[in-house]
């Protein structure tokens, strides 16, 4: 069965970069996009998400709030926070929610690291 990845970021460029790098490693996976936390939850209503990659600072619902709801609704999903907001307080909140944490900028290495987290127990 195909692995489904949901990329959530209000920056279209960031979504494009991440998907480009991810496809270099996993070209056959199914990639979905959302530009906000609310949209991510709507997308996830109709799909089983294997890996969600979530920005934090977005208009409307924050990525951390969206991740917490997604965790409730799809406990099996691996959720990775990918953010420029690398303050310790943000890392702590992510950790408390049981989320993986990866810093921006998005690079080929960080994309590979994120994909490798699929199926790993969250932090």
């Amino acid at each position: 069965m195909t692995t489904t990845v949901l990329i959530v970021d209000d920056s279209r460029v960031s979504r494009m970069m991440l998907q480009t790098y991810a496809k270099e490693t996993q070209p056959d996976w199914h990639y979905l996009e959302a530009a906000s936390g609310d949209e991510a939850l709507r997308v996830a209503e109709a799909q089983t998400i294997d890996l969600a990659i979530m920005d934090v600072n977005m208009p409307g619902m924050s990525g951390l709030d969206a991740a917490a709801l997604l965790r409730e609704r799809q406990p099996a999903a691996t959720i990775v926070v990918l953010t420029a907001n690398v303050q310790q307080s943000t890392r702590t909140k992510a950790s408390e929610l049981g989320l993986h944490f990866v810093e921006k900028p998005i690079t080929p290495d960080s994309a590979t690291r994120i994909l490798a987290l699929l199926g790993e127990r969250d932090a």
């Binding site: 494009m16 600072n57 420029a84 907001n85 690398v86 303050q87 310790q88 900028p105």
Partner: protein
């Protein structure tokens, strides 16, 4: 006007220097090129004077990514480039992953995201120093004269203006990272610096750290 002691000003300059250094490290990673930094300048000035500094970048319009932050102290962080360098910077940072035809269309989105990453690196470092969380607003892009990027609320009031010039040596691209803070916030900033200095001195009293 609120004054800082020499020690407070020295500490603030050094904290800002290290924070922008973090941001430069991130930028260097994004462009695969060395980024050099000037010595930080920390000055009280009127908002219009700060605008004049940006107007003198190559005598042209500038692009600025602005991000409000609030916490122990509050203000606005800015990443500023000459307008005609913006596309070059975006191309350096993301050009390989985005088709050239789409690059111009996505320039503003890309520049905002670049600013978001660099300014957050800076704020994160300050957050570590002050052991305080900063809430950050959504980054926004302003293009125009120095006065346009400084923002209306800062134009006619005294501000603490910290700025560093950075240069991508191989591309002759330069820009600024700047922080603007108004006077009410400066009282909180000064308290934050004093706390930092006191921690350095192992809990020394305010007098020993240069406090008045």
């Amino acid at each position: 006007m609120l004054e800082l002691t020499d020690l407070q000003q020295d500490a603030l300059t050094e904290l800002f220097n290290i924070s922008v250094g973090q941001a430069a490290s991130v930028m260097s990673k994004m462009v695969n090129e060395e980024v050099t930094l000037s010595v930080p300048a920390v000055r009280f000035m009127n908002g219009t004077e700060a605008a004049d500094i940006f107007d003198n970048i190559g005598n042209q319009r500038v692009s600025s990514v602005c991000q409000r932050f609030s916490g122990t102290f509050s203000g606005e962080a800015l990443l500023i480039f000459p307008e005609d360098s913006s596309l070059e910077i975006v191309r350096l940072m993301i050009g390989k992953t985005i088709p050239l035809a789409q690059l111009t269309e996505l320039e503003q989105d890309a520049l905002t995201e670049v600013g978001n990453i660099i300014l957050n690196a800076c704020l994160c470092s300050l957050s570590d120093f002050f052991a305080q969380h900063f809430d950050t607003g959504m980054p926004c892009l302003r293009i125009g004269s120095g006065a346009d990027v400084i923002g209306e609320e800062h134009r006619n009031e005294p501000v603490l203006f910290l700025h560093v010039r950075f240069t991508l040596a191989e591309r002759s691209v330069e820009g600024y990272v700047a922080f603007l803070m108004n006077l009410p916030s400066l009282h909180d900033l000064r308290a934050g610096i004093d706390h930092f200095l006191a921690e350095l001195n192992g809990g020394a009293s305010g007098h020993e750290t240069g406090l008045e």
